[in-house]
Amino acid sequence: MLQHLLNGFTVGSIYALVALGYTLVYGVLKFINFAHGDVLMIGTYIALIVFNFLRTFIEPSIAFIIAILAGMASSALLAVLIERVAYRPLRHAPRLAPLLSAIGLSVILSNTAALIFGTKSQRFEMPFNNTPIHWGNLVVTPYQGLILLTSLTMMVLLHFFIKMTRTGKAMRAVSEKPMVAQLMGIDTDRIIRFTFILGSALGAVAGILVSLDYKVYPTLGSLIGLKAFIAAVIGGIGNISGAMLGGILLGVLETYGVAVLGIPVGYKDSVAFVLLIIILLWRPSGILGSNKREKI
């Protein structure tokens, strides 16, 4: 039982990391960045290439760290580019326009990746020895440990960043009322750009962590992205703690659904969607979302 909880927690913290990207952008722009999953997929590919290139020269663990940084940087760069080209011109357009533009971008990115990197999935070698550690009845792999440690650290850091720093404060202000924030001298364009950087860098980390186990392929981002988005909505989109809660809840329920309730593995991916519909009916603004403005 505890084992399933641990496994669910691991999957869930990945969802949570990706969900943060959706929720941060939704917080400031009130728009669903459909291309988020594909941006993190590109970052993962870059990390894979950097890692495979470097590990012949240097220690794999150092190569892995450099690869993660490279993946984060390239995802962030791509997100900034996309924001500038495809979202900024549409900031004052009707709501449907940026959403359609984002869907178009998502299609472009995943197919371009398939064209460049091929549709075959590629292995991301684990840079460390992944022998499971037995702990009473509990089995923990170092890989799971890495995921839990990394994602929890990042979430805590993000939390303090938003609450404590000037930029974090500015982000909250923009999310609450962009117009007033601008009048108060906040450079909203800069804050929005920064939000995209933050979200996609976190997403790239999640993508890399996932692909250590599941390989890298062009549609990697779509399914994780979709589930993470659902996680963000379940928790209350625009709400940072909501994204974390939603991600972990979704991960745990998926694992329990297959292992305990006996849902066939083929239907595992449907759990998230059914959960989404139930939550939306019960609390349309998500578990932690409220109608009061406490976004970001």
Partner: protein, 296 residues
């Protein structure tokens, strides 16, 4: 050459039905739904299952059953999600599409799993055999449906119901304050759109003689959306023009035998580009109604 033109004509007709359904949902009512492919799959699988088990079935009965199934599923997805705001609907409908595909892949008993259903017999209309081997008859058959549905949709647009949908699209709050039951109208519009797509699925299944789950993936829904947006949201003739352009772009190289030279991804990158570029430079599409000033 003649048979090539007929083939394009048949595909054009089937996609035109999907685009008309999408236009009713997205263009007229302003709901961004991303599951035309799922509704089409429901129509196609209903047809396949019924025709392979009860072969000599009058066409009229088949049509009634397909329309019923399409609108039933339309109501099933519509009732819980249409009470939500636009962006959530996009995600929920996307999720619904994934669930449908998941079920088709896994419920082997009814759907044949990944192999699908093959050997779907032709149907009889009076004394005429509607078979995929006689392309000109099939073309007339398909366009008969397009004609009838187009006529119905035009009648609908000018009725009280059609005006209500436009009112909801322009301002839902104002519409409901005038006493319209907006949820009811939206669900019914959704059901009609779903039924039209199910009919397209029926035509597809009879024409191909077999159905597989992979035909009805997310990319198909995107392609249909792209057709409607390219033509111009909220205009049925524009939807047909958009469909024609996309069908020619995507089917012509394949039919002329160039498909070896052009990777499949290029098509989809092109659809993505069309969406993004249109949203930035011409959000009303090729022939669309001008976007109302008040919304922007």
């Amino acid at each position: 050459m003649i048979s090539l033109v007929l083939l394009i004509g048949i595909y054009f007709g089937i996609y035109a039905l999907l685009a008309l359904g999408q236009n009713l949902i997205t263009g007229m009512t302003g709901l961004l739904s991303l599951c035309q492919a799922a509704f089409m799959a429901i129509g196609a699988y209903t047809t396949a299952i019924i025709l392979t088990s009860h072969h000599p079935l009058p066409l009229a009965e088949l049509i009634v059953i397909v329309v019923f199934m399409g609108s039933l599923f339309g109501a099933m997805i519509g009732l819980p999600t249409l009470r939500l705001k636009g962006d959530y609907l996009a995600i929920a409908s996307l999720g619904f599409g994934e669930i449908v595909k998941n079920v088709l892949l896994n419920a082997d008993k009814f759907t044949g799993g990944p192999m699908g259903i093959t050997h779907i017999p032709s149907v009889q209309l009076g004394r005429i055999l509607i078979s995929p081997y006689d392309k000109s008859v099939y073309l007339i058959f398909v366009w008969g449906f397009v004609g009838v549905i187009l006529w119905g949709l035009f009648r609908l647009q000018r009725s009280r119901f059609g005006r209500a949908l436009e009112a909801i699209r322009e301002d839902e709050v104002a519409a409901s304050s005038l006493g319209l039951n907006t949820t009811l109208y939206k669900v019914v519009a959704f059901m009609i759109g779903a039924a039209i797509s199910a009919l397209a699925g029926m035509l597809w299944a009879i024409y191909n003689g077999s159905v597989i789950p992979q035909s009805f993936d997310f990319m198909l829904s995107i392609m249909v959306l792209c057709m409607v947006v390219l033509g111009g949201l909220g205009n049925y003739f524009a939807a047909l023009v958009g469909t024609m352009v996309i069908v020619i772009i995507s089917e012509l190289p394949r039919l002329l035998g160039f498909s070896v030279l052009i990777p499949a991804q290029l098509d989809q990158i092109l659809f993505g580009l069309i969406l993004v570029i249109l949203m930035i430079y011409r959000p009303e599409g090729l022939l669309g109604r001008p976007v109302s000033k008040r919304n922007s």
